[in-house]
Symmetry: C2
Subunit: 285 residues, 2 copies
């Protein structure tokens, strides 16, 4: 698998890079961001990798440009990889009709419904193909991998971890869509990508997965702004996930509610250092 370097920019003594490649899983060309901390460049020290999954409408650019995550990733010596949010450059009818379905809204599932099933396999892309590419091309510390994300990407981070016990040593989410089967965004996406049978949705729903989880103990760090419009709008439902986790001995949760913070990148920028320090502690343990 060949990587094409789109750009590399020095940043906090590390390098923020952008790459393009052909995805065999998605059957299209994809773009992603990679931040290399100074240690990974200077002496090729093997570093843990932290994956960030973005929310609706985002490309790889939003997190790279607006969160300021590089400051803490440089200090902690983490490689941070952030993919796009859907297949790109494909031609599917209706893909650009709405901000919450199709382009920019892959929801990190493997679609089973035509026509989406041909390309919309973001789950396999972020859990398999992309990590293989990253492992083959960067100085990655084997077996030290974390994942986090925002909103739709928080949902993505949670299901990637819950469906693969032990694959990720650290998991966190900003304002995740925590119970997509029960909210308008998730119901629209799951109906479109997975079909109308709600039984098929459970394997892609963090709250359902948490309620059945019985494997390697997993801690989930959930972050939520109290002034988030989408929390009030019942799109996020973190309380459902917390309630499902409470009786499950295999799941530990850390829940931080941030008074007065909304759903924006200003919120992420404020707390991203705390998340990266959390991941670093677990990944460097």
């Amino acid at each position: 698998m060949k990587l094409e370097l789109v750009s590399t920019t020095k940043c906090f003594e590390g390098e923020q890079r952008v790459y393009k490649h052909h995805s065999n899983v998605l059957e299209c060309d994809m773009t992603f961001g990679v931040f290399l901390p100074p240690a990974a460049i200077e002496d090729k020290t093997e570093c843990p990798v932290l994956y960030f999954l973005s929310g609706l409408t985002c490309t790889h650019e939003n997190f790279v440009q607006k969160s300021g995550f590089q400051r803490t990733a440089a200090k902690e010596g983490l490689i941070v990889v952030n993919p796009d949010t859907s297949p790109r450059g494909v031609e599917l009818p209706g893909q650009d009709d709405a901000y919450d379905f199709g382009s920019g809204a892959g929801f990190y599932v493997d679609a089973t419904e035509a026509p989406w099933s041909k390309h919309y396999k973001m789950y396999s892309y972020v859990t398999q193909e992309l990590p293989e590419l990253v492992n083959a091309n960067f100085s990655v510390l084997p077996g030290k991998k974390g994942i986090f994300g925002h909103s739709m990407g928080g949902h993505g981070a949670l299901i990637c971890a819950l469906k693969n016990p032990g694959l990720y040593q650290s998991v966190s989410a900003f304002a995740p869509i925590a119970n997509p089967s029960e909210c308008p965004w998730g119901q629209k996406a799951f109906t479109g990508y997975l079909g109308a049978n709600r039984d098929d949705w459970a394997q892609w729903d963090a709250t359902s997965l948490v309620s059945k989880y019985a494997s390697t103990p997993q801690e989930l760090f959930i972050d939520q702004g109290s002034a988030d419009n989408f929390l009030a709008g019942q799109q996020l439902l973190p309380e459902k996930l917390l309630a499902a986790a409470a009786p499950n001995d295999h799941i530990q949760t850390i829940f931080k509610q941030r008074e007065g913070y909304d759903h924006s990148y200003f919120y992420i920028a404020t707390f991203v250092a705390e998340h990266i320090e959390y991941h670093a502690k677990l990944l460097k343990a």
Copy 2:
């Protein structure tokens, strides 16, 4: 003068706000950013104000979204105000023909040439009208004002300070256009806004102003990335300003060259904390 609140977003325990107002000086409506640190909100502590002037093509948004300055401004207790880069919503022939003249490219001068002279008075706006508005509407510590900027805005910060000895207690610039009379960007802008007579340009050129400066001692903190394309392209010319300052006892310079950094917001994000700490030290002295 009435301010209209466009948005307010909690960020690093402070608030990033955006305001609109009618500018009498520019004869148009203008938008600007204001970050209020926690102290300025909670108990209305009077805080120093730091002005940031942006570069070509920017609006108030770029610095607000991409630099991450709020983290350090919150910690240091500085109010940070950042205006737009030109009059907006006016109708002047040719204003949108190029990225480096007209809209988004006011160059922080008071234009004397028609048709620009009717609206393009960014110097008076940022040194007089905007500070009056800020002083009237926020809990500002009197007589404690700093200014900094990037590229065209670095030029702006330098000339605002050099033309008003003692008005600003701290001055810094990222990759400033340090000698506009001698570079293509500056020559185009000055010819358009000020006319063809080069003698009229000197009062708007930081290097010329430094060579003649004989008032209150002023320190200038100049920052420059070594891999900046516009440095190589002879648009910035910091060496001319440093050479002019060297024999002048009234001007002290701090010059930091940053190995491998370019002209982008990744460069600004990397060093903005150091700049804000520099301003805070002088403004809180």
